[in-house]
Symmetry: C3
Amino acid sequence: MSEEPEKSSPATEQLEKCSMVVCSGDMDKVMAAFIIATTAASMGRETHMFFTFWGLKAIQKGNPTGSTFMERMLSVMNRGGIDRIGPSRLNFGGLGRWMFKKMMKEKKVTPLAELRQTAIDLGVELLACEMSMDVMGIKREDLIDEVADVVGAGSYCHLALQGKTLFI
Amino acid sequence: MSEEPEKSSPATEQLEKCSMVVCSGDMDKVMAAFIIATTAASMGRETHMFFTFWGLKAIQKGNPTGSTFMERMLSVMNRGGIDRIGPSRLNFGGLGRWMFKKMMKEKKVTPLAELRQTAIDLGVELLACEMSMDVMGIKREDLIDEVADVVGAGSYCHLALQGKTLFI
Amino acid sequence: MSEEPEKSSPATEQLEKCSMVVCSGDMDKVMAAFIIATTAASMGRETHMFFTFWGLKAIQKGNPTGSTFMERMLSVMNRGGIDRIGPSRLNFGGLGRWMFKKMMKEKKVTPLAELRQTAIDLGVELLACEMSMDVMGIKREDLIDEVADVVGAGSYCHLALQGKTLFI
């Protein structure tokens, strides 16, 4: 984005940014988010993903988090890590996750962790929401190293206003 | 959309496309999706709906699906068909669906199946996500005939980049 | 975008509207909605929030609603009011709501009710969906006075087509 308010050529139009808020931590939503992000990036778009609340699970390393009692309890109930993500329906305490993973593997669908790596390789910028990390007691070191930055909602809005944006 | 990359007149601007990903299979979300789609189409917009994951329920005929054990189990747990769609909250194994349907009927709200028909009549294009159909073992013949095409995420992204887009 | 339908200066481009549909009544989603809305408004954007289905909880006064048996039952199961809103996961009949509120208070995060007030003070327009109010038996007087209007989906679509829009 050349940052002049008026986009003056078709080329600039083609470079309109893509951004998304990933607020959900469900397998189907997170998978959709990464598929859209990798597709947009491979179409040459500058793409940004802003992970907040349950969405943070997708960019956590997966270690237990938190220092207070409640933060640690939350971490037990909702342990982060992309391999722990289950579907929004029919999870049945992990059975659904296992079943979906098996079904995806049989159909040779790229697993979530690989899809995230592809996104990173294609230059998709992963951003983490400062406020929800603070509320949930998640620290920078609990996130995978590839996360580009920990930012506030203002940064997301700024990006969103420059192109297409989705709330997932 | 006259399909030249450079939009050259106000008229073309008015014809900016509308698209949405319908990832959710809940009554409230699916209803909102069809209401927005019919409204956009009746305002003269070219409108496309891309159904993925649970959203596929809204464009399935409603027959049992799948050939492997897991696919068939999934179909039992999450049988497709627009009349089987329940609200995202307070469903209580179908009671909520029955109650909402009754309340909507009393208030003379268009039922989901009719709303979908209106969308089709107004020219809204219904697209099904190839990958999630493959994972869940849903075949083309399990979808209603009015579905225009079974496509990949690339097709959705291409449409989304040409106008307004929502993730539902 | 250089199309000059009416946008003729950088200033006008900066004034592209922001709108969102708030269909969800979960704490995390509602909080994200108000944070994005206040941020957009404080960046000088005309911002509109259209509350529908469960999202209506966020702009209800909190009194019991409905006149028919089913409407009143729904109000008991899903009582409105911004202080009754719980997280989309791990609510456990209100425990999650209490825990999250406590965690947010400890981290000095603005509570939902205050965040909504800030949005109102910044001129964010709160709109209520006529159809879902009708279905659920919610009346104008059940909503907080600051709600600007009770409108149909057409009004939302009209706003959405004028700028950035999100479905939450």
